[in-house]
Assembly symmetry: none
Homo-oligomer: 190 residues x 4
């Protein structure tokens, strides 16, 4: 990808996190990226396209991050903890994509092919994890999407609030939160 295009995407991401959709102008993006306003239109159809491509760009980043260091050979709980922590770290790290999905929600959906592929890839390892867990009776017999919400969305939500300063999660609490997420999806004898 061209250096200019990267700089434009990076600038857009930064400004989007700071000001939200309303409140960023193409002029601002151009200035932040150090290019002329017209240059943006060499790489992007229009403002919507810029935002959409940024969305795909971040999704691609997320897809990679989430599955990092996870091997299908590992024990289930180890895989779960690594994925959980991948999400946590991705959200809380310094160079994290500072945007959460909510901020893209009002975009007129393009439902691009690339996006579909990315989302599939993003959850491939998670899907296998859930499938195996259910197959051996360890996990609750629920749809993968529901299991995902119950265990991993909590993580993302927790991380976002931690980053935003709503509250702080220390190391002990973090470990307990992982266990809690695990407890949410495994079967318990009552």
């Amino acid at each position: 990808m061209s250096d200019k295009k990267k700089r434009i995407l990076k600038a857009t991401e930064k400004l989007l996190a700071m000001y939200g959709f309303h409140g960023i102008s193409m002029q601002m993006v151009a200035k932040e990226a150090g290019v002329a306003a017209g240059t943006i239109y060499r790489y992007f159809e229009d403002k919507d396209d810029l935002l959409q491509q940024l969305h795909d760009h971040i999704l691609s980043y997320v897809a990679n991050k989430i599955s990092q260091n996870v091997s299908d050979e590992m024990p289930l709980e180890q895989r779960f903890r690594i994925i959980w922590l991948n999400i946590w770290n991705m959200t809380t790290q310094e160079d994290a994509p500072i945007i959460n999905r909510g901020q893209f929600e009002t975009l007129p959906r393009r439902e691009s092919h690339e996006q579909r592929l990315l989302e599939k890839k993003m959850f491939a390892k998670v899907d296998r994890l859930f499938n195996e867990g259910k197959a051996c009776g360890l996990f609750k017999p629920l749809d993968n999407e529901i299991l995902g919400v119950l265990s991993l969305e909590s993580c993302a939500c927790l991380a976002r609030k931690h980053v935003n300063g709503v509250f702080k999660v220390n190391d002990a609490a973090l470990d307990a939160a992982i266990s809690a997420s695990w407890d949410a999806i495994i079967q318990h004898k009552h």
Copy 2:
């Protein structure tokens, strides 16, 4: 509250859910509410104030809904299920506030006194539930905020995806999801 003001808030809420912050104009709000553009400014300082007051308005609605039919005399698990279902119903019902909190996130915070009071009220019963649960050793010893995310945000997230059609949650799955949320916060013998 004046009829006109209510209509303006209702119209704003509808449009906000449809188009997000960017993409709604005061003209659109006026038209949707059936008032003249200038009329909005009799009731709201400016666009930001309109959005902020809408936020407070919805928060107030949510605060009431969430605590409905919950009594501090009930057993812990019953209280938890009612609260969980209150959130679920509030989000999935026909006349629900169509907006989720994420859509207010980029708003410049006013941190009004009223807002603080509302948020306190909103979680008063939830707070007592968590405190009692921890006191008797049933719940994990985590901050109430964290317990809230682990058990109730999952509910809201699930409900939102159910409504948006990302996936459907049937009655059996719903019951299992409540149990899973409960499992997330109670202590288990290992």
Copy 3:
């Protein structure tokens, strides 16, 4: 004249002096006058009419002030000094009409009959003064309008700058300025 009408004119004058034409609204006038916005339209056709009537109102005040204590029997120089000081005092006094004519200049002229009469009356005594002065060879043989500018506009200009704080005119300077204005219009042997 009705009390309400007077209050409206007074309020308009005050606001006009503070903000100029642009920058005063009928709402502001109503608030300052302590009446409802609609009430203004009982007494004035529209905004232009309000301003025009205010103009006439002030002109009437000025016309009276300027000729105060001046009798056609007095010696020429005494009459001149009284008129000069009338202008000075009118402009610098506490309850002076705070507006100068320049602020009315862009008003769409109505050239009302009343206005014509007032302006005639305003300068009647001044006219007689100049005519007598020229008849006896004391004054320069110039049109009264020109004599007026040379001697009395200087006074008004001086007073305005004194009030606005551009510079301050002490008693000695004031007396010298009157003499200078007198010098401007009388004939000198060279």
Copy 4:
């Protein structure tokens, strides 16, 4: 200075003279200048800035005009007559700045450094004239500001009324008016 900026200033000046502050809109300025409305904002911060810059622009023009053809080596009276006529011509000529200072009076003052410099420059030669005149006992011992009002403001006022058609000043009267202004500030034996 850019051609567009000049055209905008010129257009503003024209409209200001015709309609006053209230009553000119940015759209009108844009149309008169033959540019798009948005273009004005490339050169001027906002409407106030446009008006302020116009003020400075005109002041600069006036400063130059007033001192034209005046040399400190000339006799006092000659210098006075030239300055007086400079003001007269500047005000009555075809391409004169059509605006008088009064029209800027309601503008919120910026008191810029540039403005101070210009006003100093504007009156430098006038200041020297008055100082020398007082030093040799020819002029009345009054502040330069007061001498200025007594002799030169009369000129500007006369010229304005001449241009506006309030009355007409023929060549003989003009010469007499200069002498009258001179008489106003020189010492006379009584």
